[in-house]
Symmetry: C2
Subunit: 190 residues, 2 copies
């Protein structure tokens, strides 16, 4: 991806985080990114193309936080770190998290993003499943764990707690505490 494309997608996430998916207009995005509308159409075709690419971009950024390319020395600690990185009170994580929640919420009403959202969710679940299996193999979990179900629950919990945090029902600290406790509930004490 070119720097210009990255610049446009970063701007798209800021616009979605500020005004929601329904507030994303190409003119507004062009102004936020400091580029022409023509360049946006050139790279992304249309508004749906921007949303698709924004979803991929959020996912790739989340992987960038988590994927350092090596097999982790302590997979359980890595799992905790991975999940915690989604709930942090810094502007980039907050914007990514709001935009992700908005894309999820808009898929309830429109079929456009559903397939891609399902695939992206599965790839996140797979990543977490791998860490849980690595933790089990290193005897850092109870032995009869259902890694896939635990991964589905932990990631869905991160989504549910993120929405509570972002909508002001709980603090970011409480959301993080609850995720930590969920790892213990799912994997057992060590």
């Amino acid at each position: 991806m070119s720097d210009r494309q990255t610049q446009i997608l970063e701007a798209a996430i800021r616009v979605i985080a500020q005004d929601g998916v329904r507030g994303l207009r190409i003119e507004k995005l062009a102004a936020e990114a400091g580029v022409s509308t023509a360049l946006i159409y050139y790279h992304f075709n249309d508004r749906a193309g921007v949303l698709h690419s924004a979803l991929e971009f959020i996912n790739s950024q989340a992987q960038r936080y988590t994927d350092n390319g090596t097999s982790p020395a302590d997979p359980r600690a890595e799992l905790e770190k991975t999940l915690m990185l989604e709930i942090q009170d810094n502007p980039d994580v907050r914007n990514n998290s709001i935009a992700w929640g908005e894309l999820r919420a808009s898929a309830v009403f429109s079929d456009n993003l559903r397939e891609q959202l399902r695939t992206t969710t599965e790839s996140w679940v797979d990543e977490v499943t791998t860490l849980i299996n690595q933790a089990r193999d290193a005897e850092l979990t109870h032995p009869d764990i259902d890694a896939t179900a635990a991964a589905e629950r932990l990631t869905a919990l991160v989504e549910g707690l993120s929405e509570r945090w972002l909508s002001g029902s709980i603090t970011v600290e409480r959301a993080r505490e609850l995720v930590s406790g969920a790892i213990v509930a799912e994997l057992g004490r060590i």
Copy 2:
């Protein structure tokens, strides 16, 4: 609440479930409810008043599913039943769940509903905490459970899994299986 008010709020939930919070216009609501716009203004003052009352109404309906006024004979079974009632593929539950998710998502962008949403969330968590404490007292959980944290997680998980279900990332059956498994992870096997 009068039958007429109930009729308007049921219509509000259908409109929100179909078009989102941002699609709720008084004219549209009047048409859906089969009443005059004047009657809506009379009962709810303005659009914000409709949203407030709709949130209360969803919450009271959820309590109607769950609250039969007696102390349950099997509080753990009651807990499972309570959580499962939120994830069912029937039109009323689905509409309530979509509308709840929409109200939550819109609170990310606007301060209007935040306070009420926080209070409503807390009352739901309290209700589930009570059931977990009753289950612990009946020795239907492991003894050193943190009932409040477990209740916060189980309800946030129900919200996260509902959004995955409603946005087409998982089936309703899988969402229900995962909630069942979460109860075992949080409370222990019996």
